[in-house]
């Protein structure tokens, strides 16, 4: 047993990676789906075991290939990445039963097995970014997850999916290149690629070479911001989410940007923050206006969007603004708000996109004008949409409220009451776009496209309702979300110089 425990960090990535390879040999979609579901189900077990181990015994270090760091690649699990690992693996596992019918409906038979291989590869990449303690290894996993994402997006039924995928390919590659240039600059001045080792050497290096250290931060910042779709680097996201297969959209919206935010936290707080005075570096200065711009501009764009998937995609950009705002505040409550919103938003957006996937499955369209009266023909699906939408707005009693609460407290603690006001004001815009969908769904006559639609089969319904339930439940019981997030924020802030 202890032999397995020692191998858990490695297995976290190796299991989905090997699973992806074996899925690539399969030809039948259903078989590949069953296999992918089985493999995915292993990952949260490992992640929870790691979380408990970290919670009681502190950080775990795993030496890939038996080579000790800083020479070898180290997998380092602390509370922050154990939390992200749990989030990513758990949400994927909940979503997997949904995938079978949705994927079978939207992707040609001979390509389904490929889709699941790409999905597992993407999962391995995302878990890899979250678990590794090596800057270059993180880049490799970033590329693994991105490349498989491009393929998944391109498999969308709409021909525009190809263009969307290509757009993301270009922008994503620029982002990854910026990241690797930043890592290169850090390697140049510190001679190390291990996160902890870089952090230990960066202070001295910065005294000798202040400019490359600052330039490295700028490159890392821009590169990761492209990946996490920070306004105005979000341009790839609306089309990618809108035209990707429904399951891929839900999976990516719940996991991919969250892992990029994690990487940002790691670089900012565990490398730069440990070695230098993070508050003196221009991180907050840049993050504040961009986050607030995201919260407003992206939300307003969402209000005017006709395609519901695109609407939610713009909403994602806005929600990422809240997360980065929490990071920009750099105090206990603000950072807790950012991290807990990372968790809550994954659940909420997962639930919302799954609901839209069900609409796509039954009605074949997600254009708002075609969906009149869908709340009456697909009652459970739209009830889930409304509940998750309320959580998105931050109605008290839902998970979204918890995030907003911590963010507002953080803003007040920082003495920035206008920011607190802006958080509330922008939440009202969410009311507008969710409300618009509700108005069409419940108060318009039943339109032709949805007349014969009904709630999706049980296998699709259960994951959707489970995530909806979670996005309300974590507004009442905040032990796993806000409790852990607050500990993480404490550790990150406590580690700052």
């Amino acid at each position: 047993m202890s032999a397995i425990t020692a191998q858990l960090p490695g297995l976290q990535v190796v299991v989905p990676l090997l699973g992806a390879i074996i899925a690539a040999f399969m030809r039948r979609g259903t078989l590949a789906w069953a296999w992918a579901t089985l493999i995915t189900a292993f990952t949260p077990i490992i992640a929870f075991a790691l979380l408990f181990q970290v919670w009681s015994n502190g950080p775990i270090s795993y030496h890939m290939g038996g080579w000790p760091p800083p020479i070898g690649i180290e997998y380092r699990v602390d509370l922050l990445n154990a939390f992200v690992l749990v989030l990513v693996s758990l949400v994927s596992t909940i979503m997997m039963p949904y995938a079978r019918r949705s994927v079978a409906h939207e992707i040609d038979g001979d390509k389904q097995a490929w889709f699941y291989a790409m999905y597992l590869l993407c999962l391995a990449g995302l878990l890899g970014i979250a678990i590794t303690g090596d800057a270059f290894n993180a880049f490799v996993f970033l590329e693994i997850s991105s490349l498989s994402t491009y393929v998944m997006i391109a498999m969308g039924r709409d021909r525009r999916a190809l263009v969307a995928s290509y757009q993301y390919l270009i922008l994503g590659t620029i982002g990854a290149t910026f990241y690797v240039i930043g890592v290169g600059l850090l390697y140049l001045v510190t001679g190390s690629l291990n996160f902890a080792d870089i952090a230990a050497r960066l202070g001295e290096a910065s005294a000798a070479f202040p400019r490359p250290v600052l330039a490295g931060l700028a490159f890392l910042f821009v590169g990761i911001s492209l990946k996490l779709a920070l306004f105005p680097l979000h341009l790839w996201l609306p089309n990618a989410y809108a035209y990707a297969p429904s399951f891929a959209t839900a999976f990516l919206a719940a996991t991919a940007t969250k892992v990029a935010v994690y990487l940002f936290l790691r670089i900012a707080f565990s490398i730069y923050g440990v070695a230098l005075d993070l508050k003196a570096l221009p991180v907050s200065t840049v993050l504040y206006p961009l986050s607030i711009a995201a919260m407003f501009i992206a939300s307003i764009l969402a209000v005017y969007e006709q395609n519901l998937k695109r609407m939610l995609a713009y909403s994602s950009v806005a929600q990422i603004g809240y997360i980065t705002l929490g990071i920009a505040l750099m105090n206990q409550a603000g950072l807790t708000g950012g991290i807990v919103h990372l968790f809550n938003h994954a659940l909420i957006k997962g639930a919302l996109f799954l609901a839209l996937g069900a609409v796509m499955y039954r009605a074949g369209t997600v254009k708002l004008d075609d969906l009149g009266g869908i709340g009456r023909t697909m009652p459970l699906t739209f009830a889930a949409f409304v509940l998750a939408g309320m959580s998105l707005m931050g109605v008290p009693g839902t998970a979204g409220f918890i995030s907003k609460y911590y963010l507002i407290v953080g803003a007040l603690d920082a003495g920035k009451w206008p920011v607190a006001f802006l958080i509330v004001a922008s939440s009202l815009i969410a009311l507008l776009y969710i409300g618009r969908a509700v108005e069409v769904a419940y108060f318009r006559p039943v339109s032709k496209a949805v007349a014969h639609a009904k709630d999706p089969p049980l296998m699709m319904l259960v994951p959707m309702l489970a995530l909806t339930f979670a996005s309300v439940y974590f507004g009442i019981d905040t032990e796993l979300s806000a409790g852990v997030a607050s500990r993480i924020a404490e550790l990150l802030i406590g580690g700052l110089k």
């Binding site: 191998q7 490695g10 190796v14 090997l18 795993y62 030496h63 890939m64 290939g65 038996g66």
Partner: protein, 138 residues
């Protein structure tokens, strides 16, 4: 009279040497520049040159599409399987020292296996790319 007789004969003469050179680059990776990636490209080049001169159908008779699609993940499986073998023996993933009685010998064997996996995947991916482009419009 076919005017490409020089090309056909020339290519037939060259291909065995290309494959041999690929093998040389593969195995020489231990001591100098080379390794699975470069060797994979050279091996794929041999088939691509064959396809250019003798036509796509002839090339696909030698290496069918299905085989290529099978080989792409197979190479990665060889790589990851080597790593997983270490896991099964109670060592960390990719710890090659378990592959032989002496750790350095085990690592040498590990690299050999892993590079073989790289060769398979790179060469078949190159061929798959070539097939994908040349089959367009058919």
């Amino acid at each position: 009279m076919r005017l490409d007789v020089v090309l056909r004969v020339g290519v037939k003469l060259i291909i065995p040497f290309m494959l041999l050179f690929g093998l040389y680059v593969q195995l020489h990776g231990d001591y100098g520049p080379g390794g699975g990636f470069q060797a994979g490209v050279i091996v794929a080049g041999a088939l691509i040159v064959y396809a250019l001169i003798f036509g796509l159908d002839e090339a696909q008779r030698v290496v069918p599409r299905r085989l290529v699609e099978f080989l792409v993940p197979l190479g990665v499986l060889i790589y990851a399987g080597t790593g997983a073998f270490a896991l099964l023996n109670g060592h960390n993933f990719l710890d090659y020292s378990v592959l032989a009685a002496h750790a350095p010998a085990g690592r040498e064997r590990g690299i050999l296996l892993v590079e073989a996996g790289v060769l398979v995947t790179v060469s078949s991916t190159m061929i798959a790319l070539f097939y994908a482009f040349s089959e367009r419009g058919r």
